[in-house]
């Protein structure tokens, strides 16, 4: 299947180029986000009836992991409200780019942090506290507010969207998994960029700002760091940038050799498995340990969590690929073969999320009518009873997702192994084993 250029369609092109539709979505998202913060802080402390828990960890999460990431890659980043207040302050404008004199410090993020390690750490921090975060409205409210203020703060010190690119815990995995998505933003003709003066896609112009994601669109070969904000489409004077439909996981044909991305794959794989076991399993002891943050049981849980992610999973992986003798260093083999875990991890998260989303989706209707737990009934659905949905298809859907993910992972492993000229068997065996474990945890 070849690429289909979506921006060839004039309607799509003008919708993406114009700032108005995007602004409308931005305002809705920002209002919803701020409302979620308020709901978390002053609404009922009962998570299942609070807008912040229900609409962030059930509704938004479901749409993110089941639709946005697999089909639109960084599509959520395109509409996310977190960077907006900071960016508007940075630009001194909500819509048009009047003058581009820096309003704030506009420092470049130090080289040491120009990777996704901070995002790995921020995701792990949330993950270690997830039992409390996912169930307690005021904690969710505080975390949402903290991210918003962190983004604003970083925007006043650093250039572009420093929070999004280097700190956001969600952005870390959305970026990694966006490599599997069937949508991409790429230049049309490389020669045009070579002869282009000033590179306004990166440096900005009268019609738009330089890439807020600190990406040079002319050099974009993968989705990982492009946030689909459409700014470059507005600035390119040669109309050389397009949004294309393409086969799934096209980016994985060129495996990355970065260690931060490789470890992100392990972080996501491991945390999906741990969540499946701790949150959805019948073992009360683990849930107690995960919830009682600060207790000695929780410390043990945190250490085991980190050990699984940084030692056990990558350790077994490394052990498996050790024998694949090669001229390339182990680090490179490790990173490029770990690419196979990207589609696997995505499907692990899909399978895991299906369970709690289908079980608890009925809360969405109640929270819509009474978001703060004050006794409202805005849409008449406040008394919708809790009722798990589509339970008969859950197990088959999880199997389909996990087996599908395994197939995808094996194919990716074959391609990656081909690139580094090693055998793919160890990776395949590894993927099969972890998939079987995940099947056992979920079914």
């Amino acid at each position: 299947m070849a690429k289909i250029e979506l921006t060839r369609n004039p309607f799509i092109k003008s919708a993406l180029k114009s700032r108005y539709p995007q602004l409308a979505v931005f305002i809705i998202m920002l209002v919803g986000y701020i409302f979620a913060i308020l709901a978390g802080l002053i609404g009922t402390p009962v998570g299942s009836h609070n807008f912040s828990i229900v609409f962030v960890w059930i509704a938004w999460w479901a749409i993110l992991i089941l639709v946005a990431v697999p089909f639109f890659g960084r599509g959520w980043c395109a509409v996310c409200p977190i960077p907006l207040p900071g960016e508007w302050l940075q630009r001194g404008a909500v819509l048009s780019p009047p003058d581009k004199r820096p309003k704030w410090l506009n420092l470049r993020v130090p080289k040491m942090f120009r990777n996704i390690w901070l995002q790995n750490i921020s995701f792990l921090l949330l993950a270690l506290f997830s039992s409390v975060l996912l169930t307690t409205p005021n904690i969710t409210g505080i975390v949402l507010a903290a991210m918003l203020f962190a983004a604003i703060g970083l925007s006043t010190v650093f250039e572009r969207r420093a929070f999004c690119r280097y700190l956001c815990p969600v952005g870390g995995f959305i970026g990694l998994y966006s490599q599997t998505a069937p949508i991409e933003l790429r230049i049309k003709d490389k020669q045009v960029c070579v002869t282009c003066e000033g590179k306004p896609c990166y440096n900005g112009s009268q019609t738009g700002y330089g890439c807020p994601w600190d990406v040079f669109p002319g050099g974009l070969t993968k989705n990982t760091y492009c946030g689909l904000c459409m700014e470059c489409i507005r600035t390119c004077p040669h109309d050389n940038i397009a949004v294309n439909l393409r086969p799934f996981s096209a980016d994985l044909a060129k495996p990355s050799t970065r260690m931060d991305e490789a470890f992100k794959a392990f972080i996501m794989l491991g945390s999906a498995m741990i969540y499946a076991g701790v949150l959805l399993g019948p073992w009360g002891m683990f849930k107690d340990a995960a919830y009682n943050v600060g207790s000695s049981a929780w410390f043990v849980y945190a250490i085991i969590f980190l050990a699984i992610i940084f030692v056990i999973l990558p350790g077994f992986f490394t052990f498996g690929i050790l024998n694949t003798k090669n001229i390339l260093p182990l680090k490179q083999r490790f990173a490029s073969l770990a690419t196979a875990l990207i589609p696997l991890g995505l499907m692990f998260w899909v399978a895991f999320s299906l369970s709690f989303v289908l079980t608890n989706a009925s809360y969405i209707l109640a929270a819509l009518s009474d978001p703060l737990g004050l006794g409202w009934n805005l849409f008449g659905t406040a008394n919708t009873a809790w009722q798990p949905m589509l339970t008969t298809i859950l197990a088959p859907a999880q199997t389909l997702a996990l087996v599908g993910g395994l197939i995808w992972s094996v194919r990716t492993a074959e391609k990656a192994a081909n690139e580094v000229k090693v055998s793919s068997i160890p990776v395949i065996v590894y993927s099969f084993i972890v998939t079987s474990i995940m099947l056992w945890l979920l079914l």
Binding site: G284, K287, V403, R411, E414
Partner: protein, 147 residues
Amino acid sequence: MNPRLKLLIFVITGLVVAFAPLPVPSIAPQARTFRIDARQYAYSPSELNVNPGDTVTIQLVSADVVHGLYVDGYDVSVEADPGQTTTLTFTADKPGSFRFRCNVTCGAVHPFMIGKLNVGSDNWLFRSIGLALLAVVGVIISVKQKA
């Protein structure tokens, strides 16, 4: 061999693995009673094993606050206040592994208060692992073929 034929073989094998009826060991259905203690946020015992066809009676004893017990797949439930043991009886006619969960908000971690009911062996799990194995073999063969 024609790749289309190979694909067909794999699909058919897959369907067999997924759906072919397995011989059911004929164990006479019994009546079983379980006393389950419910406290924030776990059941004790949290895993029950019965045979298909058994009549299952669960006595729910809440040990701290009002809890419930809802069985996925069977869509039956019961609630109990501390001090008032309640009983749920149903026939385990659907084989497989089913989670049971609390259906009365009992605190923060309530959505994850979960136990497991195993009716017979968890055939779907074995089938799924079989499918996973089949998928791996299938992809390896098809890739080797292209090379």
